[in-house]
């Protein structure tokens, strides 16, 4: 575990972020701040709107109101792709990969996009071996190099989760949103993913959405609790753990499950 | 002045009669597409088969026209169930391209099959074979209106009312609405969407057959290329109305039916232009259709 101290500079901020589908409010005036180098967890019961919140931040969903700031710039109306280019990167709760392609090709698409060569059409992929080498290098970092030539569909789910993370790293994020990175992974394999997350470069501000409280308390220095689309509490793990309201709403719900 | 009024009324009434036909055939397509989210280009084939069954029973066997329509409905609904259970279910989870091509394949085969069974010549129901109340004109005072088209409007109205009632007031209707809205959610509430879909598919195929039978007189006869000739218009009605939306399908049919009829009336050459132009504009402004849910 890296000892990372909040430098106090907000990297990602939302102010009064709202989203409703008709009469259904899935995000209610969410004010949220993620500091540079943070290790921050977002928790909440099922249906609390955690993934919606991530989608609003990344621009996958248009907000009904409120603003998103990245490193001080208002990005509320920047496209999803534009936000990625500015260093706001996410992984998906359910693997969202190029299933018909090989692991290396998956990485290649991210690297070439990030390197700004993806729109070139007159020369072949092979004319830029550096981009391919970089994709391979990322696979090595996550010990996926032996799977490089395999199709995504041939990989066990846990290793597919690693590819999700490798793609995110290929985009050199300043802010990384991990949406339940270990979801669906057998517990025997989940340590691979947790190790990968622990090994993330310190300078990246990380927001992790997670159900497993062990992971949250091990990883996070700060926790935000989301309930029914609204922020219930934010604080250190100790503060959250002793917060009566959180216990009744969140842990109480966990008790039922 | 009186003549203008009479002309306008005639165009409107002819347009509405055509619109009712479009609605009866398209509504089943709209619900099945809304329910399963799959693209079915072969819906017109069911209408075509329905038409041939009707014409054969009426002209060949001397069956009463209305009874023939009922039989066509039942026969094609059964055919729909068989096809759905044996072929269609394999492609629900396939990519859109596969669905498009698969159903075009079905259209081709249906055209061939119909030609084998009935041959290439256009079929019509001779007027004497129709019940008396469907022949001749109704005198509306200021103009004459064909009794058959009046019946078409009436039949359309009854079917619209029945469908609305069925969908809004019955348990099955509520299940269909829930499944169109959110299939996964409906399934988790214990609705058997597979069963539901087979049922809706049968009903939709039957309705198409009904439309096919009713349409023979209105579309000026029946040919084996029917399934191709009208493939686009049914899809347009569904897309303009919004997938899975009965009200949308109804208003889209009305809009397009009247525009198409009026267009062809005022501009005998070039009239077909309007319907595609309107479609383009509507879908441009509202990609989800007039009454479709956004997103």
């Amino acid at each position: 575990m890296n000892a990372v101290v909040d430098s106090g500079r907000p990297m990602l901020e939302t102010r009064g972020l709202r989203k409703n589908f008709g009469a259904l409010e899935v995000a209610r005036d969410v004010d949220f701040t993620l500091h540079a180098g943070a290790r921050h967890a977002l928790i909440g019961p099922n249906g609390a709107g955690k993934t919606t919140f991530v989608n609003l931040i990344t621009g996958a969903l248009d907000a009904s109101g409120g603003d998103v700031f990245l490193n001080g710039d208002r990005i509320t109306h920047v496209s999803e792709a534009g936000r990625v280019k500015r260093g706001l990167v996410r992984t998906f709760q359910i693997n969202t990969l190029f299933t018909g392609l090989t692991v290396l090709e998956n990485l290649y698409l991210a690297v070439s996009e990030h390197a700004g060569v993806a729109a070139r059409m007159l020369r072949p992929v092979g004319s830029r071996p550096k981009v391919v080498a970089e994709a391979m290098h990322l696979l090595e970092m996550l010990q996926l190099q032996d799977d490089a030539a395999r199709l995504i569909t041939e990989l066990p789910y846990g290793r597919q989760r690693l590819v999700e993370i490798a793609i995110a790293l290929a985009l050199e994020p300043r802010v990384l949103l991990l949406d339940e990175p270990a979801a669906g992974v057998p517990s025997a394999e989940s340590h691979i993913i947790l190790d990968a997350i622990s090994g993330l470069p310190e300078e990246i501000a990380v927001l992790i959405i997670e159900h497993d409280m062990d992971v949250v308390f091990r990883f996070a220095e700060k926790i935000t609790v989301l309930v029914s689309g609204a922020v219930l509490a934010t604080g250190t793990p100790d503060e959250i753990g002793s917060n009566a309201e959180v216990r009744s709403v969140y842990l109480g719900e966990g008790h039922h499950a | 002045m009186g003549e203008i009024l009479a002309n306008a009324t005639t165009i409107l009434l002819f347009g509405i009669a055509y619109a009712m036909l479009l609605f009866i055939i398209s509504v089943g397509l709209s619900i099945t597409m809304g329910l399963m989210g799959f693209v079915n280009l072969a819906h017109g084939s069911f209408a075509m088969v329905g038409g041939y069954v009707t014409v054969t029973l009426v002209s060949g066997e001397g069956v009463h026209f209305l009874l023939a329509l009922v039989i066509a409905f039942v026969v094609v609904a059964l055919l729909g169930v068989i096809l759905e259970k044996s072929l269609y279910r394999w492609i629900y989870r396939r990519p859109e391209l596969d669905q498009v091509l698969f159903t075009i394949g079905i259209v081709f085969m249906s055209v061939a099959a119909v030609t084998f069974v009935w041959d290439n010549n256009p079929r019509n129901i001779p007027t004497p074979d129709l019940p008396g109340f469907l022949t001749g004109n109704l005198d509306l005072g200021f103009t004459q209106f064909p009794a058959y088209r009046a019946f078409m409007i009436l039949a359309g109205g009854v079917i619209v009312a029945a469908l609305f009632y069925g969908l809004e007031r019955t348990r099955i209707g509520a299940q269909v609405r829930a499944a169109v809205d959110n299939r996964r959610m409906a399934e988790s509430c214990g609705i058997n969407t597979t069963m539901l879909f087979t049922l809706v598919f049968a009903l939709g195929s039957g309705m198409a057959a009904l439309g096919g039978g009713l349409g023979i007189q209105i579309l000026g006869g029946l040919k084996p290329t029917f399934a191709f000739d009208f493939l686009v218009i049914f899809l347009i009605v569904v897309a303009v109305g919004g997938l899975g939306n009965i009200r949308g399908t109804f208003f889209a049919a009305l809009l397009l039916g009247i525009i198409d009829y009026a267009g062809n009336y005022f501009l005998p050459s070039g009239g077909g232009f309007f319907i595609y132009g309107v479609t383009f504009i509507v879908l441009l402004l509202r990609p989800q259709g007039l009454f479709g849910k956004a997103g």
Binding site: Y108, M121, A133, E134 | P224, F273
Partner: protein, 350 residues
Amino acid sequence: MADANMTPQPSPAVQQLLRRHRFRVVELLPWIAAIAVFYLFPGYRLLATQVLVLILFALSVDLIVGYAGIVTLGHTAYFGTGAYAAALLARPEWQETLWNVGAQPLVGIAAGTVAGALLGLISGWIILRTRELTLLMLTLALTFLLHELAKDIDGLTGTLITGGFDGINFTMNPILGIFEFDPIFYSTNYWYAFAVLVVGFLIVRTIVNSPFGATLVGIRENVRRMHAVGSPVQRRMLMVYVISCAIAGLAGAVWVQVQDNVTIAVYEFELAGAILIMVILGGTGRLYGAFIGVLVYMILENLTETVLGTDPPYWELVVGGALVLTVLFAPRGLLGIGEDVSTMLGRKRR
């Protein structure tokens, strides 16, 4: 993160990606076959010429359907527009006004290409903002719209422009002033179509092997992920759409030039459907699928009609059956079957 000190291992996966664009000897086969057909079957040259042009058209369709995953049923809109652009330019009555260059074949194909691209840009800008059924309907509506326009514009304007149902007949000037079109033996026509196909094919091949081509496959495989890696998906789709429409326009122009006439058949939905069928029969997203698909389709059609006749529509039965079977059992087309067989043989050998 880019670590210059890392020496990349020459892993097979990397090698495979780096070498994918290289020409293989087997790729010469279709071209040798095309040359052989000219000499072996002189009686079928018109059909063979049509096959060459349709292969180019199929390649343009494969680029958006097979690679980018945009399902369209209306690509004849662009093919037909290219066709009419070339044909209108070549109209005998207008030659004086057009400084007598309208009937120059190269001027015609330039015009067809530009016309296809322009229409692709305008319509694509609109159409590509929608998805699924709506997108499909818009492509269909556009094709039908243009079909009606080509059919009725003479009546609407009271002047002779497209010739309605009958179309336009014209005579092309010699290519570059040297090679005269040959309405009897079709030899110049064949080599002309052959040359255009070679050029068109090389363009498409270059594009699909480029980083841009890779992003198209990415869009097809997973649009959400493409957005999330920062790809301007909309712009990429429009770009490939315009390229595809330009090539379709080019194919349309050559189609009418080698036959000395145009009719509204070039706008027909049946052709749009047929070309899509050819692409899937051969195998989508596979370059040579277009070659195999068009060839098999045309041969099958000819065989069926010669052997079984046209009256009971055996052809509809054959093509419908082929389509259903392909989708159910060989969704990757004939080339896909070929790939499976060759992997199986490879395993056995090992």
